[in-house]
């Protein structure tokens, strides 16, 4: 473990969890407001973070504002704990907050995520922090911010269905597979960040608090625990999640979100759990998919 930064004697040192206390206070206020109005996008004075926009500056600010000494942090990127983004953000908080980190979903109290919700059911004492690139679900349909705000205020959401209509007209089904719009607590239409629509049902009545931070767009929104989250659809084209033909090639799990992995240049491929922690845990428990063990040979 690295030394706690706040205890450094020198001039150039960081406050606990990088952000100064005034900033954290401002962000916490935004978070409280967001929780009070589920799905409503609360503007906040986003700070520059020591990372580029698009890498999770919003999520990092939310995490930095809510994290405490006792917290255990898990960071995932597209479901994986071991990709660049996840590793660096984890290292960042180890350094600036000196908190315990983990890759195990059930041990974590704060999970910062980019584009996935863990397969394991989240519990009451956990907080899921999403990194959000574009918080406005209506953005690509209506470019004017003044107009989209008004549409939210007056609950004019017909346009959202125009998008779904276009999907069906072009593809014969609702072809939106990620950032699938949801209605929160029967009021605000919300972009669940670019998570696959596979994860949408997990947001509904979730026991864990869900916070969304968009750094570049300077918005925070939230879904409090036990809140209704309904995916938009048509009566004759109901919402459906992705289905996979095969179970995970490594752990044999079914009903989980799978990633395609190219194995060689001769068309070899396998489908494995996108949630790496879930996959590892299952393998430890003795579950095996049809390619487990062969994976190394293929790599060699």
């Amino acid at each position: 473990m690295s030394e706690e930064v706040s205890h450094h004697a020198g001039l150039a040192s960081y406050n606990f969890a990088y952000l100064d206390e005034q900033t954290k206070r401002m962000i916490r206020r935004a978070i409280l407001k967001a929780i009070a109005i589920p799905g409503y996008q609360v503007p906040f004075a986003s700070r520059e973070m020591p990372m580029p926009y698009g890498w999770g500056t919003g999520g990092v600010q939310v995490t930095a504002s809510i994290i405490g000494m006792e917290d255990v942090l898990k960071v995932i990127d597209q479901g994986a704990d071991d990709t660049t983004n996840a590793v660096s953000i984890r290292a960042f908080f180890r350094k600036v907050a000196n908190v315990a980190v983990t890759t195990h979903t059930k041990d974590a109290t704060i999970i910062q995520t980019r584009h996935r919700i863990p397969e394991e059911k989240l519990r009451e004492n956990q907080v899921l922090v999403y990194q959000v690139p574009i918080p406005e679900p209506l953005r690509f349909l209506e470019p004017r911010e003044t107009e989209t705000r008004k549409m939210h205020a007056l609950e004019e959401y017909g346009l959202m269905h125009v998008k779904l209509y276009e999907d069906i007209a072009k593809n014969g089904r609702i072809a939106t597979t990620y950032a699938y719009p949801v209605k929160v607590a029967g009021r605000y239409v919300m972009d669940p960040s670019p998570t696959p629509k596979f994860d949408n049902p997990k947001m509904h009545m979730s026991e864990a608090l869900q916070l969304f931070g968009a750094g570049r767009e300077k918005r925070i929104y939230a879904v409090p625990p036990f809140t209704e989250v309904v995916s938009l659809d048509f009566e004759d084209h109901p919402f459906e999640i992705q289905k996979f033909d095969k179970p995970c090639a490594l752990c044999g799990a079914e009903n989980v979100y799978l990633d395609e992995v190219i194995l060689d240049d001769r068309g070899g491929r396998m489908f494995v759990c996108s949630d790496t922690d879930h996959c590892e845990e299952r393998r430890e428990q003795g579950h095996a998919g049809h390619l487990l063990g062969k994976q190394k040979e293929a790599a060699e």
């Binding site: 349909l141 017909g158 269905h161 209509y165 276009e166 659809d233």
Partner: protein
């Protein structure tokens, strides 16, 4: 026709600083009636139309609208939510430039269906069926239903805009130079179509135009505007055949004869 007006306009004025947009306009519009507002460029026609359709707040005046339940509501004292709801259900607004009234990047079907979805229709099949019926009514081939308006000609776009506005069965339609920018043969076809629809549906309409021929074909009654003032109003045929004001006489006599 019923014996109460659909729209009661009283003393509507709009000033842009010291300049007059329109001044002291008052009239009643009856159900099923088409009113044309004519005049030269800059005479305040469009300002007046925007005031009446609440797209612009007038400096003074009241406009009362008879709601579907028969009661009158002052348009300028409604909440924004009520006004916007009225605008997308009971009213239509046909812009001169179809690109202002259409969503150019979504298909024709979705353009027509948008209002239906906005008032809560959630059945794809039914929305599509209604959209395709409306495309037929405005003489657009139903096999173009999935094409974007970008791929449409000017006349088709204007007809699509009309379909999009009429799909919720509005009672009042505002039109701002609906035939502007179209060539003459297309204009004639569009006018024919609009006249048919207005008759079939019993619509009331307020049409702004500088083209007296459009007024003659479409409207029952007309108002002539100059420098923000209404200088003459009456039945269309009367005003065109027997203009009283010197300016109206000038306007009528300057129509090109072929």
């Amino acid at each position: 026709m019923t014996d109460t007006p659909l729209l009661k306009v009283r003393d509507v004025s709009k000033f842009y600083g010291n300049r007059i947009g329109c001044s002291n306009v008052a009239f009643d519009l009856w159900p099923g009636e088409v009113l044309a507002i004519v005049g030269e460029s800059g005479s305040g026609k469009t300002t007046l139309l925007n005031c009446l359709s609440t797209r612009l707040m007038p400096t003074t005046g009241t406009v009362e609208y008879q709601m579907r339940d028969g009661g009158y509501r002052d348009l300028y004292h409604m909440t924004e939510a009520e006004r916007r709801f009225l605008m997308r259900t009971d009213w239509g607004f046909v812009h001169q430039n179809p690109a202002d009234g259409l969503r150019m990047t979504v298909s024709a079907g979705a353009n027509v269906g948008e209002r239906l979805m906005a008032i809560g229709d959630r059945h794809y099949g039914k929305i599509r069926e209604t959209a395709s019926n409306w495309l037929e009514r405005v003489e657009i081939n139903t096999d173009r239903i999935d094409d974007q308006p970008r791929a449409f000609s000017g006349g088709m776009r204007q007809r699509l805009q009309i379909a999009r506005n009429l799909v919720t069965g509005p009672r009042l339609v505002f039109m701002d130079e609906p035939t502007g920018g179209l060539d003459v043969s297309v204009q004639a076809r569009l006018l024919d179509l609009v006249r048919g629809l207005v008759n079939d549906l019993g619509l009331s309409a307020i049409v702004v135009t500088h083209d007296l021929a459009v007024a003659r074909l479409l409207s029952h009654r007309m108002m002539v505007m100059k420098d923000g003032h209404v200088i003459e109003q009456g039945l269309t045929d009367r005003v065109l055949d027997d203009p009283r004001e010197p300016y109206t006489q000038l306007l009528v006599s300057s129509i090109l004869q072929v």
